[in-house]
């Protein structure tokens, strides 16, 4: 009973590690996926960044080229407008009657054209075609300006020479057309370049935007995936943690419960140990007490035995004294009373004779009691001589001793074959004699009939002596074996009441039992047992 909770606890404990190991595998895989997702997202973002950077760089480059083209266009325009402004200033100078203001405007126009050409040359240094066109343009512009200068110079020196002025104007117009044509070509070239470069720049913008968008989308998708995985893993972990927590709590509760049980068990065990120790101590004390008692008892018994030996010796002495010394005064009483009656019979009245009768009767009874007491004492104290004895012979001996009584009462004695037993023969004769004597003595009207038999019962012989006498009430069946215990008055049946007491003593000394069964007016059966020895036979 007591081991069950432990087993249950163990059984409960074992699955937990295997379960967590399984979970660990899943967790590892998820972690790898998450890490890979992150790495991939980072890589992708880096790629997108680099691509965007490159794309932007390219865009900036393209934008710069566009701006550069605009600068070239401005320079071309400046050149044209410078030349045109110089022409306009000459005309103004002519028309405004050589107002010097227009000379200043003329110088501005010339310088503007020069700056424009210089700028174009510088700006288109990488463009061989434009440089070549510029090489062609520059002399034309110089010629044009030189014509204008000549015109102005002529105006200052000879303002009236109109013909030359007109010739110069028409010459200048032709040059103007050539210059404008050249500039137009260059402008066209730059316009074409501008268009190309603007388109490329536009493409770069689209490309950069596309790269950014795709990179963003991919990163977003990856991050979302990783987030989902992380979320799932967090949920799984949370669940696992909850389960683990619950398992922990259960385990803790079980541990506490078990601890309480163990503590309780420990307490009861200690109590038990205490009890046992106390019991052991008590036992030890009792044992010691018993040993002391045994020693005391042994000493007592030894003393008692010594007392008994002495008592027996005294009893033997008493028996001797009784048999000789007590009987002598009794004989005197009896004898002289009888002599008194005999010699003074005529002088004794009725009362005197009655008294003497009491005297003689009392003295005789006393004598008989002493003799019976001696006989009883002898049966108890005399050493027994155990010999293998044929009970049939014993019976014959007893019948011999009782032959007078048998004859007087016309008793019929019937005996079955009796066994051979190991006994004191003299005492067994006395036993049979006393029992048979009673069977004949306590008779009814009809002649006494006595049956004697014996049967083997286990390791003992049961003897039975049954008569057809007066019987007795069952209440007296035990006390008849007590010494001097009688059932009848002396006038009914003689005797002192010693016979059955002697029978009991003899049977006791042979290790047997004696008892009687009886029915008043029908008869009595006496039973006694004697030990059966292997060497005895029927």
């Amino acid at each position: 009973m007591r081991r069950n909770p432990e087993e249950a606890l163990l059984k409960h404990c074992y699955p937990v590690p295997s379960w967590s190991a399984q979970k660990n595998g899943v967790k590892g895989l998820s972690e790898k996926i998450v890490a890979s997702g992150f790495a991939l997202a980072l890589l992708l973002l880096s790629g997108v960044g680099v691509a965007s950077y490159l794309s932007l760089q390219r865009l900036i480059e393209h934008r710069r080229w566009v701006a550069h083209t605009y600068q070239v266009l401005d320079a071309i325009n400046d050149t044209l407008s410078g030349v045109t402004e110089a022409e306009s200033a000459r005309r103004g100078y002519i028309l405004a009657d050589r107002n010097r203001i227009f000379l200043a405007a003329y110088d501005d126009g010339r310088q503007k054209a020069d700056r424009g050409i210089k700028a174009v040359r510088q700006l288109t240094s990488d463009n061989l075609a434009q440089q070549r066109r510029l090489n062609e343009l520059e002399p034309l512009v110089d010629q044009r300006l030189a014509l204008l200068q000549r015109s102005l110079d002529l105006l200052q020196q000879n303002p009236s020479d109109l013909a030359t002025q007109i010739a110069l104007t028409s010459q200048g117009g032709v040059l103007q057309q050539q210059v404008e044509a050249k500039l137009q070509v260059m402008d066209n070239e730059e316009q074409t370049l501008l268009q190309q470069r603007s388109e490329t720049a536009e493409e770069s913008v689209v490309q950069t935007t596309a790269i950014g968008a795709v990179g963003f989308c991919l990163s977003f998708g990856l991050l979302a995936g990783v987030y989902f995985l992380l979320q799932r893993q967090i949920r799984v972990r949370r669940r696992a943690e909850t389960a683990l927590h619950q398992a922990n709590e259960q385990l803790e509760a079980r541990v506490q419960e078990r601890t309480a049980q163990l503590s309780q068990m420990n307490i009861s065990l200690q109590a038990e140990i205490m009890e046992r120790q106390q019991a052991q101590q008590a036992l030890q004390q009792v044992k010691e007490g018993l040993e002391i008692k045994v020693q005391e008892r042994t000493a007592e018994l030894k003393q008692l035995n010594e007392d008994l030996v002495r008592s027996n010796q005294e009893l033997e002495q008493f028996a001797y004294v009784a048999s000789h010394d007590l009987q002598e005064p009794l004989r005197a009483v009896t004898g002289y009373t009888q002599l008194l009656v005999q010699d003074y019979q005529d002088r004794l009245d009725e009362s005197a004779q009655e008294y003497t009768a009491f005297i003689v009767d009392g003295a005789r009874r006393m004598q008989q009691l002493i003799q019976d007491l001696l006989a009883y004492s002898r049966v108890g104290t005399r050493d027994l001589v155990f010999v293998s004895t044929d009970c049939n012979l014993v019976l014959n001996q007893a019948l011999d001793n009782l032959q007078v009584a048998i004859a007087e009462n016309q008793a019929i004695i019937h005996s079955e074959s009796l066994p051979t037993v190991t006994v004191d023969k003299n005492q067994l004769v006395q036993l049979f004699q006393n029992l048979l004597g009673n069977a004949i003595k306590f008779r009814r009207e009809a002649p006494p009939q006595v049956q004697i038999s014996a049967e083997l019962n286990g390791n003992e012989w049961i003897f039975r002596i049954r008569d057809n006498g007066i019987g007795m009430k069952s209440r007296y069946l035990v006390r008849i074996f007590e010494i001097f215990k009688r059932l009848h008055t002396r006038t009914e049946f003689s005797g002192t009441g010693i016979g059955l007491a002697i029978c009991k003593k003899i049977v006791d000394r042979h290790g047997g039992r004696i008892w009687a069964e009886s029915e008043p007016g029908v008869g009595t059966a006496f039973y006694f047992t004697l030990p059966h020895h292997d060497h005895s036979n029927v």
Partner: protein, 147 residues
Amino acid sequence: MTIQMSNTIEILLVEDSPSDANLTIKSFSQAKIANNLHWVKDGETAMDYLLQQNEYTNAFRPDLILLDLNLPGMDGREVLAEVKANSDLKRIPIVILTTSANEEDVLRTYNLNANCYVTKPFDVQQFIQVIQLISNFWLAAVRLPSE
């Protein structure tokens, strides 16, 4: 058995020894109060007498019982116990008159509600005196229940 008038004190003597019975009978015959003593020799006869059965169907109910203890068969202790257990007989005073001076006998008989216990003196004169004392006391001094 002698049938007397009803004012005569009826006594039952239960005694197995003829010599003792003889002395007791003699002593009571000399008592001042008229009495009628009946002698039985054993316990069973005594019970027959008291219960008026068998040969004693016409017996008088005794006013006093003198009871010896050691009797053949049913002894005096058993007679005492039976009488004191019998609702009709238990008021009859019982005087234990015995040779035994045994303390256990004294205790046992008083426990069985004996009315007094007297040990028979060994000396004949003393014996006669004790019997006369008993007769004077129980017949003259004591008031006995009337039936």
